[in-house]
Amino acid sequence: MQAGTTRAKRQPAWHILASEFSEATLNEKGSGEYDPSFVITKLGAKVNRVVVAGLLERLEVRETSNGSSLYQGQMRDPSGVHYFSVGDYASESMRELTLELVKKIEAGEPVLLLMVAKSKWYQTDEGAIYTSLRPEEACEIDAQQYALWLTRTCEDTLQRMKHFTDSLSAEPTREGMVAAEIPEHMIDGLLVARNHYGDIEIENYTLNIMQALDIAEGRMEAASQPVAAPAPSTDADGESGDAAAGGENEVKDTIVSIIEQLDQGDGVDFETVLTNTVARGFDRTLAEEKLDELSNEGTLHEPRFGWFRIVA
């Protein structure tokens, strides 16, 4: 006896690593006003709400054009970064917590955060889709709780990877999925994910999980990786002042990572790069300048005018 009324139920929360969530480029929204909106990941998770955790890496206020304050932040887990925002729409408790966290970040205090958040997605005019989070509730956690979150997230991700792998040999229909013993809550997501993402590589998730489990077991040595040689100095472009170098390098890093993610072989066009850099809280003029620099210093090349690729 099914009915359409199940739509009003609270959506469950998925434990998910930053890598799986941020790589998602597919979304779904029913036509009704109150229909939930979903981000669908490569592994077929149809996500409306998440439980995520990590190191709070950035949290700053941005004044929006209508005079309200929007706090934008990023949170790092072993697999990557979540982007989130807290606006006037957030609950009083979430806004108060955000103010406290801003102070801690400004003071350089390390903050481990756990948040229950709604998945959001945003589509650029060019059709690129970005995921981000809107926290509903959050709290600071200690390393033990972080470790527990890591284990839960690893387990759930492993489970999804198994369903994903099982689904590959199934007929791409609901009946086929049922026959392959794919559980009900994964079927819709896996069907559309396969259609949208095509053949994907899931080995990187295994690596993320191995690292996360090392951390959860307290085997920090195994989880640690040396860094590459120090980033090239920005002096090359003749800028002497170092005042904003960190910020500027961050812009560069961001631009490179955007191109890395969006490049489907033909490069990424100027406007897409800029829109997305701005969407992450950077100044457009600065971004334009840095895009130029990256081009000049040979990090990027332009296979055709206005399209950028990373020099292999």
Partner: protein, 569 residues
Amino acid sequence: MSEKYETHVKSILAECPDADPEAVSAAFAKYETEFFIPPQDAMRSILRRFKGETTPTPSSGSSGSSGASGGSSAPKPTRKVSRLSELKGDDREIEIEVEIISHNIRNQTIRGEEKQIAFGLLEDNPWEENGEKTRWEFKDWGPNSNITPGSVVRIEGASVNEYQGKMSLNINQSTRIAVIREGTRPIVAPGEPQDISTLPSDGYVCIVGRILATRPDQIHRKDGSGSIEVIRGRLADETGTIGFLSWEPLAHEVGTLLKIEGAQVRTFRDTPELNFGRTTKVEVYHDKNFADVEALSEQTMVTLSELRDGAKDVDAIVQITEWAKRTFTKDGEERFLWSGQIADPTGRCRMSAWNELPITEDQLPLTVRLKGVRVRAWQGIPDITVDDADQVEILDAPPWDSELDLKNHTVEVALHELSTGASRVGISTSALVVSVREDSGFILRCTECRRVLREGVCADHGPNDGNSDVRLRLAIDNGLSSVSVLTNKEATLSLLGMTESELQGAIDDVGQVAFVQSLRGKMLGRKMNASGRSIVDEQGAMLLADGASMIEEDAGLRATEIRAQWRVS
């Protein structure tokens, strides 16, 4: 400087030449040991700290969304509409949600090749109950196997066909069909019987079933203009049983196998019922292999966990743990009602009887077999009603372990089962806390009805002073289902390890918002166990908890288990 972080420290120093290498190294050590953040992940945070505040210039007036990361997609330019009337004759790649009204398959020869195609009628605006709806014909060239009559589907990537001013929808092999609601109103070919377990919650159906029970009844017209003679009873096949109500005379006896065409399913409370009317065709059916009454009757035996509001002709074996006579006055006349608590190994509920049962208090607990009783729910909790003493048979011993203390028995129920099953008493479940609501703590309840006052006002009884109470309002979740939890005063205080006055002091000290935030620090993302009773309805499941505790877990142990279980090395 510790060698361990040498490369990381160098990276930082390259950007911040004035930083103290020892301090940088110490920062890496702190992130790693205290926060479990490996050095490569701590880089940015530490760099930021030693640089001082060099944040990127905030952009102004940009209308971009919040920060995001992602990849690209090559979206099809789909045109999403909610009504068929929005479509034009040359629209391609459209997306719409419709209900499939009819669906037929025919063989057609296309370019010398025999091919199956499907056609039928679909209707827009599927969600609005009595809304204006438009019907179009469709052709499905796939044909897609998941298009079934009665289902609501989202069609993505169909095209419009206009022929002599008549519009229809073409569904191609590349069109995606997402079933949003399985067919609840299948339009089954007449004379094609369905299994009782697969009957829809409303609509006309055909079934073959054996009569398990039948009795005459009267329905009194509300306006007092008399009463209607009806027959009530129960039919069964091998998949299940269903109650029926016949508005026409039905002379068949218990045990008769019938084929019934054009019966209407109506759902009262949570229980579907068949209605036979003037247009219903009832005939005796012959099938030697059809199960007999005895075998079919076993299906009416239920456990307390399976009780649904509105169910009739229910059989069950239960233990009566409390039983008392109650007196009340109706129309100036003193009347009696017997009621008490019953239990079986799946849970507990109440039972009421309108006649005296041969039970005295000193016999309790007492195991009985109930036959043909009915179920009503009060505040979502099922209550068995016994109308006649002969519906109750006293048994010598329970069919389960007689040592089981059912009075205090709590059944551990998985969260998903709890959220999708019936309302139950005496259950407990474990899941992660995903929400601690801002109104957790002290509340005022209406002095009349115990409802929570909103700004000193009860929705039913207006402004009043209210009585103070303590509760937590939570949501727990296992990634599959979400259940809201309300802990009562006792459970709240024991969970927080506080007395009521300590709790009051804690809230007075920091304020309500900070208090709730402190609860989140203790509970959010952590596992808890809650026990009590559940109420399940269309909005989901709610657990009214009289017991609650947090569950400690060891991350290292779990990580090792996961490695073993999933062979991640």
